[in-house]
Subunit: 318 residues, 2 copies
């Protein structure tokens, strides 16, 4: 009902009479009034003037499910959205939902995370209303060994959405960082629930610094606001990421990983660089010669041997 009321209010910049609204929605004036109060409590600035009716003056900067769904126009991504003011981690919530059979494309969004995390249990700083923190449940027909491509796919989607909505060029550092001026703007975390030979589901988590003030950012981090000196609509950015994720996911399904990898190459700063990768207890040093179609990084060691790496901590040496 709230969604319907907002939809009607947003169509007009002028007042809409309470009688019209109530009739259109098939509810009493009393019930309408109650819903309007609820919306005001959520932060919607709605004025009521006798004889004129209601008018929506301002929408709060919140990632409410009804706002994310509005004009999203996706087929599966976001068809079910779970919104939290604050949560330990959207990854954990999405994992639980995945186990309970949540459909592909379900999304968990939080305004703040108290235990937001990055790879290998590292902390992802998630202050309230400043960034975008969400996790998506996918159920790809991939073998557990082949899901690295989804991390790359998510990175490509984020870069493209940031470019479109904020007009800012960003870069991808393998395997999961989104960089801006060589600082961390965002990160992608891919987690897996699988049998030996079958993926049950994958959770892709995305954290992005959007409207954070510079002085409150951890060192080495950057926000879109710091770069562009203005606020970016978090809702528009989130919607665009979801759209790109869906489009790229469909491309992956129909055309295979090659089409994703090609776009990834355009944005990646890790190719043809000398790197040192800490991977499963050992350091691998060499030059990145290519990325394989399965998402593995091909590193030519000084011995000439080429080693494929699927994940690890990477330092650019040149």
């Amino acid at each position: 009902m709230r969604e319907k009321i907002l939809d009607l209010l947003k169509r007009k910049t002028n007042y809409i009479s309470g009688d019209f609204l109530a009739q259109r929605l098939g509810i009493s004036r009393q019930a309408l009034w109650k819903h309007i109060q609820d919306l005001k409590e959520l932060g919607y600035d709605i004025v009521a003037v006798p004889h004129l009716g209601y008018r929506l003056q301002a929408t709060p900067d919140r990632l409410f499910d009804c706002e994310v769904s509005r004009n999203l126009n996706t087929r599966i991504l976001g068809r079910k959205i779970y919104y939290f003011e604050s949560i330990t981690s959207t990854m954990d919530a999405a994992m639980e939902l995945g186990i309970k059979g949540a459909p592909e494309g379900s999304v968990v969004i939080a305004e703040a995370q108290t235990r937001g995390r990055g790879r290998l249990g590292r902390v992802w700083f998630s202050p309230k209303y400043k960034g975008i923190y969400f996790s998506v449940i996918l159920r790809p027909k991939l073998a557990p060994a082949n899901i690295s491509i989804l991390t790359l796919l998510a990175a490509v989607s984020v870069v493209e959405a940031v470019k479109k909505i904020a007009g800012v060029d960003t870069e991808i550092k393998w395997p999961n960082d989104i960089l801006l001026e060589n600082k961390k703007l965002g990160g992608i975390l891919t987690e897996l629930n699988a049998e030996m030979d079958k993926v049950n589901f994958v959770i892709i988590g995305i954290g992005l610094n959007v409207n954070n003030d510079k002085r409150f950012l951890p060192s080495g981090a950057i926000s879109l606001k710091e770069k562009s000196a203005q606020e970016t609509s978090r809702i528009e950015l989130l919607q665009e990421i979801l759209r790109r994720l869906e489009t790229n996911y469909f491309i992956l399904g129909h055309k295979g990983s090659k089409a994703i990898i090609e776009r990834w190459r355009e944005y990646a700063i890790t190719l043809h660089r000398r790197v040192k990768v800490y991977c499963q207890g050992q350091y691998i040093e060499g030059e990145v010669v290519n990325i394989d179609t399965d998402g593995g990084l091909l590193v030519r060691k000084d011995s000439g041997v080429i080693q494929k790496i699927f994940s690890g901590d990477l330092i650019h040496c040149s």
Copy 2:
């Protein structure tokens, strides 16, 4: 408290006075009486005779956590036990517990499963009080690609426990079946929660047909009772499996997979056989020449090429 009462009652075959029990436990006679009633409702046959006290005549055939813990003598396996009369699947419950941070060695036991499952979503028939159905949470320091060894480790543990408790020789069919007279006695299901480069936790589920009557078993299945014509203590068998799992898990940690693989070889019927394996959308046919230290099956195809397979549906052709 229940555990303590049972412990005291089980130490004696004769009557124990209520006064002694109450004093020993630091509770009132009234409270003791209440606990005894609760135990009786759980199926414990406790007789109370005036002036003599209480005597435990019979323990019900249930896998209660307090019974499983009793004299288990493990360090981590079973240090936390969750018992259910009936559950959809112990795998699902263990997954949720794992996400919530349940410690390594936590065990979920059910007397019946309404949606017990095997590999690839197949049904595991789980009638009440007849079999053993449980899942164990492990947090091994292994890469996601290397956890196949845990399925083999669990199979070895089951074979050894069945031999010790029921005196029956069983065999392992790669990757996850426990066979008796070429019929399915049990199965092992390994599921994974992981990041790209780090296992968060692994769930090992074990289902075993113990005291099932032949006429109620699905075709192709067998129970210990069908073979030995007598009932096996499910509690003793479950305890022994947990002990073996722990021992073998420690061996894996200290000595590596080789020690596990060697024992697996002894029980496996899949080595040096001609097989056809359906694996990720394709059939691979050839002779099994060996099993690798990472648990991968090495199949020599007719072309002479040796292919390593980590999971799949296997048919013995010879």
